[in-house]
């Protein structure tokens, strides 16, 4: 309890508050502007986090970018039918329909209130459950970590968007890339091709900045559609009591769905907004309303994505396993600041742990206060042409990469990864699983090898150990799910011709 209250003292420091404010503002901004997602923005900001120096401020800022983006993404979904964030895509259906009926303000107001409720309830649950999970996991040894990291990589690959086989290939290549450099056990050089720089290993900040940041910048350059968007005018943000009454149950359900899906690796904000919307439509007595301006259709996904954004901090802060690409960037930020996220974090570094958790209470209040009255300003920001922002982000990225080690080697390596990421998207491969697997790669390899030494070379040890055995059983279930689903679908519809999607599901 003391540590918890101390956390607020940490947040109340002017420096931390300032970085929290900067973080949520940047988050909201990139949420509003279609193009860069939160993971890419966090990747680009990594060098700046390093130069801030203070781990708490840095991580508080990065966290703010992530949950701030969930608020911002709504605005463009409602006003422009252009989701600023992947997690606000379903909001487009009913949000834009409401905007066309002149109720854009109501949609935005409900979304902001739902977001705040979802996030805040989720933080309370996080504050209560995280120390318990961490306490339980603190005795984890190499086999448990190996199993957990493996499950994380698999879940991110199969649940996330994109074809599962392609995602698994990308993840495996990420794991392979993580082996570049000097082997920690034997000192042997692997995949370095005689390069001195490569023998130090590839810096994950460089990989993330390239695959997320540079590739998205290049992608946007190609996809850009010249003219600025002119959004509808917004009036009457405060929703009426009747609207709130309709939205309240959806907000409640969205919070629950978001919290639980957010904790799952690979779940996160995108998945939970879809699931919350689907649930509302499924249990509704009037499902035909959805897509034509249902308040519930805005409230549920917007609540769920914020609840999930918050709860996805749990696996990172308690187990040291990032649940999605944005959490992988936070993980990277902690590592470059010299802190390895693990179950011991809450005990060894209570200021950081509670500082970050409690900054989310503060950040969400700031976001609620900003998002309702400042909607007009954010709407005006939408008029800034993407062409003007592109070189600014490009410069931040390159100069940032240089400052990591004051070397142009990093810059060129980042550009190379940027081109790889761009080409991957062309071929239908998502770079997300590759980055996440790369970040987890060293943990996974080291723990597998340590476990094998502990088990004296007997790989069945992983299964015999109760905890890692359970985790691996979950692994098998996740791996088998797409196959089982395809078979089930085929049995359900034996008469219809099999569409391509079925092949894709295998």
């Amino acid at each position: 309890m003391d540590a918890f209250l101390n956390g607020f003292a940490v947040v109340a420091q002017p420096d931390t508050l300032l970085y929290c404010l900067i973080g949520v503002l940047i988050g909201m901004l990139i949420g509003v502007l279609p193009g860069l997602g939160p993971a890419a923005t966090m990747a680009i900001l990594l060098p700046i986090v390093v130069s801030i120096g203070d781990p708490i401020s840095g991580v508080v800022m990065m966290a703010g970018v992530y949950y701030g983006a969930q608020y911002g993404g709504t605005i463009t979904s409602v006003l422009l039918r252009l989701p600023g964030e992947a997690s606000s895509v379903v909001t487009v259906f009913d949000g834009f329909a409401l905007a066309k009926q002149g109720k854009a303000g109501t949609a935005l107001g409900i979304a902001a209130i739902g977001s705040f409720v979802g996030a805040t309830v989720s933080i309370i649950l996080l504050s209560l459950s995280a120390p318990l999970v961490a306490g339980w996991a603190v005795d984890f040894g190499p086999p448990e970590y190996a199993a957990l990291a493996l499950l994380g990589v698999l879940l991110v690959s199969t649940i996330g968007s994109g074809h599962p086989i392609k995602a698994l290939i990308a993840a495996s290549i990420g794991l392979l890339l993580a082996t570049v450099g000097r082997d920690q056990f034997s000192g042997a050089e692997r995949y370095t091709f005689g390069s001195l720089e490569l023998s130090q290993g590839i810096d994950f900040v460089v990989v993330a900045m390239g695959l997320f940041g540079v590739s998205e910048i290049l992608h946007n350059l190609e996809e850009r559609h010249g003219k600025p968007h002119v959004p509808a005018t917004v009036a009457d943000i405060w929703p009426s009591r009747a609207d709130l009454k309709v939205a309240a149950p959806a907000i409640g359900r969205g919070t629950g769905i978001g919290f639980f899906l957010g904790v799952l690796p690979g779940g996160g904000a995108v998945m939970s907004s879809l699931a919350a919307y689907a649930t509302e439509k499924r249990i509704s007595k009037t499902p035909e309303e959805f897509g034509r301006g249902s308040i519930k259709g805005v409230a549920a996904p917007e609540t769920a994505n914020n609840a999930a954004a918050t709860s996805s901090f749990i696996p990172l802060l308690t187990l040291g396993i990032p649940a999605n690409a944005s959490m992988a960037m936070l993980f990277a930020a902690l590592l470059v600041l010299g802190i390895t996220p693990s179950p011991a974090l809450v005990d060894e570094n209570p200021d950081l742990f509670w500082g970050v958790v409690n900054s989310m209470y503060v950040g969400n209040v700031i976001l609620l206060l900003l998002s309702i009255p400042l909607v007009g300003i954010f709407v005006r920001i939408l008029r800034v042409r993407p062409a003007i922002l592109a070189p600014i982000t490009a410069l931040i990225t390159i100069l940032g990469a240089y400052t990591l080690n004051n070397s142009t080697f990093d810059v060129f390596l980042m550009i190379a990864f940027g081109v790889i990421g761009y080409l991957m998207k062309k071929g239908g491969f998502e770079p997300g699983p590759m980055v996440l697997a790369f970040v987890l790669g060293a943990i996974l390899e080291n723990n597998v090898r340590r476990s094998l030494i502990i088990y004296d070379g007997d790989p069945t040890g992983f299964v015999k150990d109760p905890i890692s055995g359970t985790i691996l059983a979950a692994f098998v279930l996740v791996a088998a799910w797409p196959v089982a689903k395809t078979l089930l679908d085929r049995r359900r519809a034996p008469a219809t011709t099999t569409p391509d999607r079925d092949h894709a599901g295998v």
Binding site: E222, E223, R385
Partner: protein, 178 residues
């Protein structure tokens, strides 16, 4: 989840919404690339897998009791190789690739300006190359007017100068010293 269907008895609602989402997102996108893109993608992955395998053998696998430096990369490369072969067979008709077009030249020019900045920055400082990058991106890649190009370029470089050298005290190579 088995009995929860839509009123019309169609497929699962979640699948339906996901399809709708994909459609919303893809409206403005370039068309998919087709089987050639899929095959090339799978072949590149296959090549990475095989190269990884060959090199890993060189590093030494040893046994499970004392895993050698090559064992883990060998297993990963094996997974890549097998999955790429599967993808080569089942993935031909996927539609998740994005075709190249004339506007793919824009990112190509963008990459060249990135490389140029990387090469020139240690030699002549970051100011002039950054300015040139901004001008190319704004005027030629972005189609901005000369007026806004000049204003935004000079403004951006000036802000970055102050931000990096004074705000964050990061010693970027620079030409101007005050």
């Amino acid at each position: 989840m088995s009995d929860e269907r839509t009123a019309r008895g169609g497929p699962d609602i979640l699948d339906e919404i996901e399809a709708e989402v994909a459609e919303t997102l893809s409206e403005d996108d370039l068309p998919p690339g087709g089987p050639v893109y899929q095959t090339v993608g799978a072949l590149v992955a296959l090549a990475i897998g095989i190269a990884g395998l060959v090199l890993a053998l060189d590093y030494g696998l040893d046994g499970l009791r004392r895993p050698g430096p090559g064992l883990w990369p060998f297993v990963m490369s094996l997974v890549i190789t097998v999955l790429s072969l599967v993808l080569l067979v089942v993935g031909r008709r996927l539609e998740d690739s994005v075709s190249f077009s004339r506007s793919s030249l824009l990112p190509a020019v963008g990459v060249l300006t990135f490389i140029g900045l990387g090469v020139l920055m240690p030699l002549i400082g970051f100011e002039i190359p950054s300015l040139v990058l901004c001008v190319i991106w704004l005027r030629f890649l972005g189609g901005e007017s000369w007026r806004s190009t000049v204003l935004v370029s000079v403004g951006t470089v000036a802000v970055f100068y102050v931000l990096f050298l004074y705000g964050l005290s990061i010693p970027l190579p620079h030409l101007l010293a005050f």
